[in-house]
């Protein structure tokens, strides 16, 4: 069952490849088949169930393109504080 999931906001993405390099589950690929409106090959999330929601992709993304979701119920702290906790 899917534990984690990310959404990549591809229009913001500059195709820098950093997220795909760091993802321990190798579930982010660069989409060589298309350019986004800004002229970059965006990153693409391969939702094959391997994503753990570890958020390291989001931590390294310089363009804040990635939102990370996880199944486990979130702890009490507010949403953003959690984001921080992920650091």
């Amino acid at each position: 069952m899917t534990v984690g999931k990310i959404i990549i906001h591809q229009d913001r993405c500059k195709g820098c490849t950093l997220c795909s390099t760091v993802c321990p589950q190798h579930v982010i690929h660069m989409d060589d088949t298309r350019l986004n409106a800004r002229g970059y090959h965006p990153a693409l999330f391969v939702d094959n169930g391997d994503c753990t929601g570890c958020a390291v992709c989001a931590v390294i993304c310089p363009d804040v393109c990635i939102t990370v979701y996880r199944e486990a119920p979130a702890p009490k702290r507010a949403r953003l504080a959690e984001g921080a906790a992920a650091l």
Partner: protein
């Protein structure tokens, strides 16, 4: 805020866009770690609930447009003078949070006097210092922080230390000053380092909130464009070339800061 249409409703958001950023896309090159630094600062401001009481002072450098990216009251200082401008602001708004975000050209070169004196006065501001060993905005000239032998557009055969000296380790210099309460260097070259960088930024702002003096976090940052390498390689370059010369570390953590 970015569009949320695709959000899976059954899951919890564990990492999202910080409130302290606007949704304007940045003008940075792909893979430039300026963007990471922005995000970290924004997250810290969010966590500390400071967004509505903070004033940001932009430098001149690639991050000159930072005022467009942060959802804060902001201004743009002349090249190198952000600490002086921030001083003017902080003296008028002693209960607000004032921070500068400066590149290595801005802070170490043209603005050396202003940062030194702001630190010496113990100005209660925070400085995020992005050291990418180059003048990014103007197209990759040598910075006082460029590494020995580093090729830049104004040292095309590599930085000659006989003529230009060794790079300046500014955190170590500023740590000498009594007014400096918290001076540390961190790196943005990998996820673990980024996490540590954020902790340092958090502390730096807390130092300011507690009115303890000047706080600065130096962040080793990449400039893939002017280094002429891919973003990923650029991170490796930080690790392999910058870290040995610019060790991460705490150069000044005053006792009152430790007690925080």
């Amino acid at each position: 805020m970015v569009d949320m249409v695709m959000a899976p409703p059954e899951m919890q958001v564990v990492y999202d866009y910080p409130d302290s950023l606007t949704d304007t896309p940045t003008s940075y090159c792909p893979g430039c770690t300026h963007g990471i630094a922005h995000r970290l600062v924004a997250e810290v401001l969010d966590e500390l609930g400071l967004r509505e009481q903070t004033v940001l002072v932009s430098p001149v450098g690639c991050s000159v447009f930072i005022y467009q990216y942060f959802n804060l009251d902001a201004c743009v200082a002349p090249h190198g003078r952000a600490p002086a401008m921030a001083t003017g602001i902080k003296r008028m708004l002693p209960n607000h949070i004032v921070f500068t975000y400066q590149g290595d050209g801005d802070l170490v070169s043209i603005g050396a006097a202003e940062i030194l004196h702001a630190a010496a006065r113990g100005e209660k501001i925070t400085t995020i210092f992005i050291n990418n060993a180059i003048y990014g905005m103007t197209g990759g000239q040598m910075a006082p922080t460029s590494l020995p032998g580093q090729k830049t557009t104004s040292s095309p055969t590599g930085r000659d230390i006989v003529s230009t000296g060794n790079p300046i380790r500014m955190s170590e210099v500023i740590a000498q000053l009594d007014g400096a309460a918290y001076i540390v260097r961190r790196s943005l070259h990998d996820v673990a380092s980024i996490r540590k960088a954020k902790k340092a930024i958090l502390t730096a702002f807390k130092v300011q909130m507690a009115g303890l003096g000047f706080s600065m976090v130096e962040l080793l940052s990449s400039c893939p464009t002017n280094w002429g390498i891919a973003p990923e390689t650029a991170l490796e370059w930080i690790e392999q070339n910058m870290l040995p010369y610019y060790p991460v570390g705490d150069f000044k953590v005053r006792d009152d800061v430790k007690a925080l």
